[in-house]
């Protein structure tokens, strides 16, 4: 079962886990990415493409499902404005055993940082607004999976 979503609503991690868990799995890995309150950040805004962002997430999910033996996969990314501490992204991957679930989760979070049409814009308490620049380390991590 693959579930992919792009949404402006807050991500309900507990509810997503319930949906993901229907049926039961031997091993489930979870990654939750949240908005950090660095340097006086007031708001994080995620811009997306109306069609290609979700398509990109779905493609990554299918690559992961082909590469590892997974019994369920959930990939939810929030878009729009969000505050410090809120969840930006949720990855859930389940398999019969931990190694595949953990590997698939790490692959998905690494690759979605470099392959999916999403852009972060930061607004700080002092009024500064800045688009986030990609980190060199993100590409290095993503390329490990090539």
């Amino acid at each position: 079962m693959i579930r992919v979503a792009v949404q402006t609503d807050a991500i309900n991690v507990a509810a997503e886990l319930d949906i993901h868990d229907a049926g039961g799995h031997g091993a489930s890995a979870i990654f939750v990415g949240r908005v950090r309150g660095d340097d006086g950040l007031a708001e994080l805004f995620l811009e997306h493409h109306p069609a290609l962002t979700e398509a990109g997430l779905a493609e990554l999910a299918h690559v992961a499902a082909d590469r590892w033996s997974l019994s369920a996969l959930t990939l939810v990314h929030r878009v729009g404005g969000m505050a410090t501490g809120e969840t930006i992204v949720l990855v859930l991957a389940s398999s019969a055993h931990r190694a595949e679930a953990l590997a698939a989760t790490e692959f998905l979070i690494d690759r979605l940082k470099t392959d999916v049409m999403l852009w972060k814009r930061e607004t700080f308490a002092d009024g500064r607004v800045a688009w986030v620049e990609p980190r060199d380390g993100d590409h290095g991590r993503a390329e490990r999976w090539d």
């Binding site: 811009e47 290609l52 398509a55 470099t114 999916v116 049409m117 999403l118 852009w119 990609p134």
Partner: protein, 83 residues
């Protein structure tokens, strides 16, 4: 050739529009050509496309490199920063 082009993030902000329909000259055949043409077209384009190395593209929904051929539906945007 008439193209529908959409812009995202700071490319969109610098262009001042989310997208437009354009009809570039016949010698614009690749993404790199298109970016160069837009940069030379007006001040907004010069600002948005001053550094072609920081521009990414999708043609018909597929991410492509600068040497890819242009198509009917093009998106131009900065490197992605999701996750």
């Amino acid at each position: 050739m008439t193209l529908t082009i959409s812009y995202f993030a700071w490319v969109r902000e610098r262009m001042g529009v989310a997208g437009e329909v354009i009809d570039p000259p016949a010698d614009v055949t690749t993404i790199a050509d298109l970016v160069g043409w837009l940069a030379a077209r007006d001040d907004r384009g010069a600002l948005a496309f001053a550094e072609p190395g920081r521009i990414r593209a999708a043609v018909g929904g597929t991410m492509v490199g600068p040497e890819a051929a242009i198509g009917d539906e093009i998106a131009l945007f900065p490197p992605v920063t999701g996750g």
